[in-house]
């Protein structure tokens, strides 16, 4: 648990970060909260000769609330939990953040790091897909936007280029009911299965629905077909079952210490049913 030697940089602006990334290529990595990267470096599973700390970059901080919400990449989970206005405009963020790791980690862990790293265990990527968020990236050629639903290719493989930095996430303030349901073995654990659900109502029928699952494949799984199973229905037990069955077809869990594939599918079904029920009650 002793990392190899590395050079440490703390630039004051994004241009400084990007020029370092261009200069060192594969040998450089940016670090936000560090709660994924530092353990990998200590295990010597990630060798990072040039480590670029983002914490002095003003541009990456801040939460802008409104019809369109913008959260700077360096915003911590604790910042989200403590932001009363965000808790009222997008309460699913607080509900999900409170289920990430433990308070000590949440003081360090950032939104940007969580979504950019591409770790299938992270909670924010699935949440962002559920919110249909857009990620703002900045590289040598300026900024560009990528949909969260298009961002993840495989474990740790994302749409982000090596010389790009995650700047912020943006999304429309969600409407209707919500739920983030996570089963985990203990505090600090990644999900055995987790579901993010947002449902809006039109009279007694479901108007819109969005479902995404976490840690049940090598990427987060946005379940469009499962969401469609709910739209226009009264979200009866039967409708929920249809959505769950559709979700099961979309996920591809792997066996690990949390259990075999069969159990994970069962747990995914349970957390999604519960999430839909709770979101519908709140819709």
């Amino acid at each position: 648990m002793i990392p190899a030697a590395f050079d440490y940089y703390r630039p004051n602006d994004l241009d400084g970060v990007i020029s370092l990334l261009q200069e060192h290529g594969d040998d450089a990595r940016v670090i936000a909260g560090g709660h994924s990267l530092i353990p990998l470096m200590k295990l010597r599973m990630a060798e990072v000769p040039h480590l670029i700390d983002l914490q002095s970059i003003e541009e990456l901080t801040g939460i802008e609330n409104g019809a369109r919400i913008r959260i700077g990449a360096m915003t911590t989970q604790a910042d989200i939990i403590d932001n009363a206005s965000l808790a009222s405009s997008a309460p699913i963020l607080k509900e999900a953040s409170l289920q990430i790791a433990d308070p000590q980690v949440r003081y360090m862990g950032t939104v940007g790091g969580n979504v950019a790293n591409g770790d299938p265990g992270n909670d924010m990527p699935g949440l962002m897909q559920c919110l249909d968020a857009t990620f703002i990236l900045r590289g040598p050629n300026g900024g560009r936007e990528v949909k969260a639903r298009d961002f993840y290719h495989a474990a740790y493989m994302t749409e982000r280029e090596d010389d790009e930095v995650m700047v912020a996430v943006t999304f429309d303030a969600p409407k209707g009911g919500y739920a983030y349901e996570k089963q985990k073995r203990k505090i600090g654990d990644y999900a055995t299965a987790a579901a993010a659900v947002i449902i809006s109502k039109d009279g007694s029928k479901c108007k819109e629905a969005s479902i995404a699952m976490t840690n049940l494949s090598d990427t987060p799984v946005f379940c469009g077909a499962a969401s469609d199973c709910l739209i226009g229905t009264s979200v009866s037990a039967e409708d929920i079952k249809n959505a769950v069955n559709s979700m099961i077809d979309a996920i591809d869990p792997a066996e690990d210490n949390r259990g075999p594939v069969e159990f994970k599918k069962h747990a995914a079904a349970v957390v999604l049913s519960r999430a839909i029920e709770r979101a519908w009650q709140r819709a």
């Binding site: 002793i2 030697a5 433990d102 089963q183 073995r185 203990k186 055995t192 259990g259 069962h266």
Partner: protein, 805 residues
């Protein structure tokens, strides 16, 4: 008595002696970050060591190339087995009579085994150097299943003559270590065959790890000028370590000083000797500089002593009415690559023969076969006396299975089989003499406290509701009545490496009436500095606040066998009381001289000696202490000091009744502890607050073990649970609320009647949690599933029973 004298109760309270919930004196420094642990020790010019470890569980070493590592700036040495061989230190003796490689000698036997030791100027360079050591391995077939190992042609220990006896008698196979038998085999089998009812089950107590907050480590410092070696380390038995270091290094024992500074939890993990200690000592001797080695968390979990890993096949028989007639057990014990169990020499399976538990079982037989596999060595007593948790888990599961077989309430089955109060001292079928107990009183108190009958009614209703589709949660009531055996132990049958398991205390009273006492034990969080001062306060009448307790420095403390197996209070606590009584005896003579009466005419009264029948004539212990240093008393030497080495006449047998009420979600496999009631009887209670803290801690470790904590291997011998992400260490969030209670049945042979308590909650807690899981599924036909009861395994149990529709 004059008006100035506080009354007796007030004087007693001022001493903060036995029974006082005195606050822990250690916590002043611990809560302010002022503890002094091994990793806090920094010596001038200190070097750092790090290991190259095997990625394979079983492999031959073809070559080791250290050139690149040696070329790294800051690396001073890279030790391999070849370097240690001329010193005879490439292997070392284990506590179990086996030997263990210090550094891989031709092959490796478990993943993470020590292959080379890099010594460098700082910890980072040491790690960089370790990465540069090139080792060529040839993989060999891996054996992770002990039953498989006993059949396999693959020879794990090629260093041993397959035909030769081991340390504990004949070996049956090249991967077999020992067979240990207790009790009467034929008679037991006969009884079981002819009984009305027999229950048979395989009970597995999985491999887990003590995982103390502070990992193992040491600083070795050889002073080449005066020839003295100082060894600081996380040692639960510093004196025994000094003797072992002397025996294996050839250094004379007076030239070795072992110091255990503050220790951040031991739980058995820090009893044995590890390659890191040997390599650090050698490195310090070679370089003439101090060398520090401290494990990281993965090294701790993967390589230093594990616990349990017992496959216990059992048969228990009874009459139709439920009176137990016999108990039979055959255990297959997975010891890993080397037999490094920490047990008293004559007990290769520890005190597993306490497995008749709290019950009057007339006939019993136990056999244990130790087996080599490709796993890390160890087999320590993780917060228990030697193999007592395994024994308690076994009998408490067998009782539950028998209750199913008899279609009987498990609480009632226990009650009709308890050893009765008038049977003590009770000699068990497997040879132990239980000192004292009152099981029925404790049991009834526990059942009333939790409202047992109502719980059973609620459970029956829950089953109905579940079947009717009204709920997906089941209710389990986990019962346990355990009996521990602690305080090893009588020198006549307990030794480690030939060292009798007595313990010691040396007291010096200072002229102004304060004192220092030194013991052969070492606290790892138990609060010895608090509780031993309380024992002394009551014995010698000086306030506990005026008594310093010191342990862990072999140059100053009297020889003792250390702290593990709940032995400190039963053995060193007794030595403390006995040394205190020597002080008191001398104080009595001094008081009599001062009061100008005969010795027999004064008597001890809390904090003073008074003239019998004239309580206004007295000398306080404070006055007597001063007199011991300033008066010439005919026939009495100056000073007031005493030392006692205590060889206990018997073990002590704490017991308890635990009840766990658990809700189980059959769909997610999640559980919730609704209630946990723990009644402990540890004899005389020294500090109730510390006892309660011990019970809370031990129960939380028990919760971890029962519900998720394990050291798991895959078929290739890779450790699957090498970090705290996968190795379950509960936090406040997972920890339920505990209700503690007690009865008091003093030990008749212990000077103050105390029995030891630190490990009881782990011994009794594991079966209580596990029985609750089993009990929840009993109405659906479950007899036995293996721990740990984590989410997916509980889900699987429910699934196998058809509870998912």
């Amino acid at each position: 008595m004059n008006d100035m004298t506080p009354d007796r109760n007030e004087r007693k309270a001022n001493l903060k002696g036995l029974g006082s919930s005195r606050k822990r004196v250690e916590d002043l420094r611990f809560t302010q970050g002022k503890g002094n642990y091994v990793d806090d020790i920094k010596l001038e010019g200190m070097l750092h060591g790090d290991f190259v470890r095997s990625p394979y569980a079983h492999a031959r070493i073809k070559s080791i190339n250290t050139d690149a590592a040696m070329a790294l700036d800051g690396v001073l040495a890279v030790l391999t087995a070849k370097d240690l061989e001329p010193l005879g230190l490439h292997w070392m003796p284990t506590l179990a009579g086996d030997k263990q490689m210090v550094l891989a000698d031709g092959k490796v036997l478990f993943q993470g085994q020590e292959v080379a030791y890099v010594v460098a100027k700082d910890r980072y360079i040491a790690a960089d150097g370790a990465e540069l050591v090139e080792v060529e391995y040839e993989e060999l077939p891996v054996l992770v299943d002990p039953f498989e190992a006993l059949k396999s042609d693959v020879i794990l220990r090629e260093d041993l003559d397959p035909k030769a006896d081991g340390a504990h008698g004949p070996r049956k196979h090249h991967n077999h270590i020992f067979t240990w038998e207790v009790g009467e085999k034929e008679a037991t089998e006969q009884v079981i065959d002819s009984s009305d009812v027999v229950a048979e089950e395989m009970v597995y107590y999985h491999r887990t790890h003590p995982c103390p907050l502070e990992t193992c480590g040491c600083v070795a410092s050889m002073d080449k000028v005066n020839g003295k070696l100082t060894l600081y380390g996380t040692f639960q038995a510093p004196h025994a370590i000094r003797t072992v270091v002397s025996l294996i290094s050839g250094l004379e024992e007076h030239n070795i000083r072992v110091i255990s500074p503050d220790i951040g939890g031991g739980f058995g993990n820090k009893v044995g000797a590890y390659p890191g200690y040997v390599c650090s000592v050698v490195a310090s001797i070679v370089t003439g500089l101090p060398v520090k080695w401290v494990e990281d968390r993965m090294e701790n979990l993967m390589t230093t002593a594990f616990a349990r890993d017992y496959w216990m096949k059992g048969k228990i028989s009874a009459t139709k009415e439920g009176k137990i007639t016999g108990l039979w057990c055959h255990t297959t014990a997975d010891h890993g690559g080397f037999d490094a169990c920490a047990d008293p020499t004559k007990f290769p399976a520890g005190f597993m023969n306490i497995c008749t538990g709290s019950y009057d079982i007339p006939t019993a037989y136990l056999a244990v076969d130790g087996v080599y596999t490709n796993k890390a060595p160890g087999g320590v007593a993780y917060r228990c006396s030697f193999r007592v948790t395994e024994a308690a888990y076994f009998i408490e599961r067998m009782i539950e299975v028998l209750a199913i077989e008899l279609n009987m309430d498990a609480a009632e089955l226990r009650r009709i089989n308890f050893i009765k109060q008038d049977q003590f001292p009770y000699t068990s079928a497997l040879g132990w003499e239980y000192d004292s107990g009152d099981y029925h009183t404790a049991w009834d108190k526990a059942l009333v406290a939790v409202g047992y009958d109502d719980l059973r009614k609620e459970q029956a209703q829950r089953v109905e509701d579940f079947k009717a589709g009204k709920t997906r949660k089941l209710l389990g009531i986990g019962l346990t009545h355990f009996t521990e055996i602690v305080g090893a132990g009588p020198v006549k049958n307990c030794d480690i490496l030939g060292l009798g398991m007595f313990d010691s205390c040396e007291i010096r009273i200072h002229p102004t009436g304060s004192a220092i006492a030194r013991l052969g034990t070492i606290s790892q969080g138990q609060g010895h500095a608090t509780t031993f001062a309380q024992i002394l306060a009551s014995e010698i009448g000086l306030p506990a606040d005026s008594i310093t307790i010191e342990e862990g420095d072999t140059d100053t403390a009297p020889y003792g066998l250390g702290t593990y197996g709940s032995r400190s209070t039963p053995v060193a606590g007794a030595a403390t009381a006995m040394a205190g009584r020597k002080i008191r005896a001398k104080a009595q003579m001094i008081a009599a001289y001062m009061l100008e009466v005969h010795d027999d005419d004064v008597e001890f009264d809390v904090d003073r000696f008074v003239v019998k029948g004239a309580p206004e004539r007295f000398k306080t212990m404070k006055e007597i202490a001063f007199a011991a240093y300033n008066q010439a008393i005919p026939g009495i030497e100056p000073g007031l000091e005493a030392v006692s080495y205590y060889d206990p006449p018997n073990m002590t047998y704490p017991f308890g009744a635990y009840i766990c009420v658990m809700e189980i979600d059959v769909d997610t496999g999640e559980h919730e502890i609704r209630q946990f009631y723990a009644l402990d009887d540890c004899g005389t209670r020294i500090n109730p607050m510390i006892i309660e803290g011990q019970v809370h801690g031990g129960l939380t470790e028990a919760l971890a073990i029962a519900m998720g904590q394990e050291i798991a291997y895959d078929n290739m011998g890779n450790v699957k649970t090498g970090t705290l992400m996968d190795f379950f260490l509960p936090t406040a969030w997972e920890t339920p609320n505990y209700t503690t209670d007690h009865t008091t049945t003093p030990s008749p042979h212990h000077p103050i009647g105390a029995k030891g308590v630190g490990e009881s909650p782990n011994v009794g807690g594991v079966p209580a949690f596990s029985n609750a899981v089993h009990d929840a599924f009993r109405p659906f036909g479950l007899r036995q599933v293996h721990m740990p009861h984590d989410h997916w395994r509980i889900w699987k149990t429910a699934n196998d029973l058809g509870l998912h529709g």
